[in-house]
């Protein structure tokens, strides 16, 4: 029987360990690596559980019936738990927005770029100020519309124009138009 405490044996082993990584070292390294990989694999579900659950993801796409909106009116609806303006522009408003297409702007965009082809009377925007996330006023009758006859954020005074473009105040970009936007029919808009 060999005892580890015997200095000669211990020395021998130490020398051997330094000189070449042997089979036994490989086993230890493999075991510890497996333990590490296993722990990491177990951590994955503990982290992914925090991202949106299936029921939330199922509501990521909605359809909005816009048949009741008259020109000049707007509705506020909810999409992904955030307010959304769906407004139907009158011809005058469209002209007004187009007139400003080339005006100096912080985030230049034309009305055409902010609406779907041939549907330029329908403007769909997240009602979330791009500054710090307040809800701008101006969609409903009688609300302050700001200096540019569009939307006004009361938190820090951002002024948006008819097409929801930032014209004055601290907000860095225009009100966001959802990327995945389409018309299911003439009266139903699909968002998301």
């Amino acid at each position: 029987m060999r005892k580890p405490a015997e200095p000669a044996v211990a020395k021998e082993a130490a020398v051997a360990a330094v000189e070449e990584p042997r089979r036994r070292d490989f086993i230890h390294i493999a075991t510890v690596s497996f333990a590490g990989v296993g722990t990491a694999a177990a951590a994955v579900p503990m982290l992914t559980q925090m991202s949106a659950s299936a029921d939330v993801r199922a509501l990521a796409s909605i359809e909005v019936d816009v048949s009741a909106i008259e020109p000049g009116q707007a509705i506020k609806t909810m999409w992904r738990k955030q307010p959304v303006f769906v407004s139907r522009l009158t011809p005058e408003k469209i002209a007004e927005a187009k007139k400003d297409d080339n005006a100096p702007m912080r985030d230049p965009q034309t009305l055409e770029e902010r609406t779907l082809p041939n549907r330029e009377e329908w403007l769909v925007m997240l009602a979330v100020c791009t500054h710090l996330g307040c809800v701008p006023t101006g969609a409903a009758q009688g609300e302050p519309k700001g200096d540019f006859d569009g939307y006004f954020c009361p938190c820090h005074g951002s002024h948006y124009d008819v097409a929801g473009r930032i014209r004055k105040g601290p907000a860095p970009t225009n009100l966001v138009v959802p990327e995945e936007l389409s018309f299911v029919s003439d009266t139903v808009i699909k968002i998301g």
């Binding site: 029987m1 580890p4 559980q49 659950s53």
Partner: protein
């Protein structure tokens, strides 16, 4: 304290040295579960279960914290939130099933750990404090397990809360007010659920705290061993790392295999179907049973069917219900006195012929029979078995153990751990 031959921590890396000088945490780890903790060389696989219990607690805390992110502690929302976790939350089914089965595995591991302590006499001097803290951990675990079982607010949850808090109403005079205080009302309801959730989240961290004390107390005399003979020389020990870290690693693998088989292939095996029915205060399940880890104690509770009083006068001193409750708590609380009930200087059951007989042919069968009685319906046959086994259980700890400690003639002990292992006596030369 440690053995004089314990290796001292010498940081290899300058960064570790810098760290260790400012906060000796690396030193603490090294001396607790590293090469600086000399451990008897002859520990068998029963000594794996302490670290496994620690792992089980970690699994419970991690999965539990995650579940709490999705659980609603409201009487209308609790049941559905659990099903929301099972159906909608990413990997929610895995986390919930792991927590559910993790509780059972925690108890399996701790019961084997306690069995080890009982058979090998690990509770004896100088390790009484380790044992006492262990009993505290066990009590906290039972409380936590019960509180957690109530949270899904299924039928068994609700009626468990009703029955368990009903124990307290057996106490004379203050019983009923005490029960209402615990429930926050006249029956389990919103107040009950909210406080149970709060405490269920709290207690595991209290358990973790007591475990630190448990391990601290362990490191004063060092680990016991299957012979019960104390460590004498360096040859009797090996450094904890790498010897027992490697052995524990293997134990962890076996434990996780069993855990994975139950969690992924039979996740509801240890549960009860009735807990998939939402709580209904108007309808009691035909057969209320607690989780398996309470079965023996539940059997003791139900075995007491006769009032204690003066015969033929009708005067009742202790009603049967109260006695059942006292006995049930007593059956656990007696563990606190065990180090002073078993006075035999020999620790290990290996060298105690009489103790061994009573242990294997008395205690173990009685606990197994009590467990079965706890889950079966209280028919005459099962009641009889529970009463016989329960009577033996109390007699074993409170009467038999002190008596055999006096009359037993133990077998000769090996001179040292090294002698028990190698057959050769320990060298007398000074270490």
């Amino acid at each position: 304290m440690s053995f004089p031959w314990a290796q001292e921590y010498k940081p290899k890396h300058p960064l570790m040295q810098w760290f260790d000088e400012r906060l000796p945490l690396p030193r603490l780890v090294y001396n607790s579960v590293g090469a600086g903790y000399p451990t008897p060389r002859n520990l068998n696989y029963f000594w794996n279960f302490g670290s496994l219990a620690g792992l089980a607690l970690v699994i419970q805390i991690v999965t539990g914290v995650v579940l709490a992110m999705h659980y609603y502690s409201t009487v209308d929302g609790a049941f559905n939130s659990v099903e929301h976790i099972m159906r909608n939350v990413n990997s929610g089914w895995l986390i919930r099933y792991a927590h559910m089965n993790g509780a059972s595995f925690f108890f399996i591991v701790v019961y084997i750990h306690m069995f080890r302590g009982l058979y090998f006499g690990s509770y004896k001097a100088p390790r009484e404090m380790i044992w006492l803290l262990g009993v505290v951990i066990f009590l906290l675990m039972m409380a936590t397990g019960f509180l957690g079982y109530v949270l899904p607010w299924g039928q068994m949850s609700f009626w468990a809360a009703q029955v368990i808090t009903g124990f307290f109403s057996a106490i004379p005079l203050v019983g009923e007010p005490l029960r209402q205080w615990l429930l926050g009302g006249f029956a389990p309801d919103q107040a009950t659920l909210s406080r149970f959730f709060s405490l269920h989240y709290l207690l595991p961290f209290v358990i973790a705290g007591v475990i630190i004390l448990h391990i601290w107390a362990l490191h004063i005399p060092g680990s016991s061993n299957p012979t019960g003979v104390p460590v004498k020389k360096e040859e009797d020990t090996v450094p904890f790392h790498p010897y027992y870290t490697a052995k524990d690693g293997f134990g962890v693998g076996v434990f996780l295999i069993a855990f994975v088989i139950m969690t992924f292939f039979a996740p509801n095996f240890m549960g009860h179907p009735d807990n998939y029915i939402p709580a209904n205060p108007l309808s009691t399940p035909a057969h209320i049973v607690p989780e398996w880890y309470y079965w023996p104690f539940y059997a003791i509770l139900r075995a007491f069917t006769v009032d204690f009083g003066i015969p033929f006068t009708g005067i009742v001193i202790i009603p049967a219900k109260l006695m059942g409750v006292l006995a049930m708590f007593g059956s656990i609380l007696l563990f606190f006195f065990l180090p002073w009930l078993d006075t035999s200087p020999v620790r290990s059951g290996h060298y105690r012929p009489l103790f061994k007989k009573f242990f294997w042919f008395g205690l173990i069968p009685s606990v197994i029979i009590l467990s079965i009685c706890g889950v079966m319906e209280a028919t005459t046959t099962w009641l009889i078995l529970a009463q016989i086994s329960g009577a033996y259980y109390f007699a074993h700890f409170l009467i038999i153990l002190p008596l055999i400690s006096r009359i037993e003639k133990p077998l000769p002990l090996p001179g040292s751990i090294t002698e028990a292992v190698t057959g050769k006596p320990l060298k007398e030369a000074a270490a």
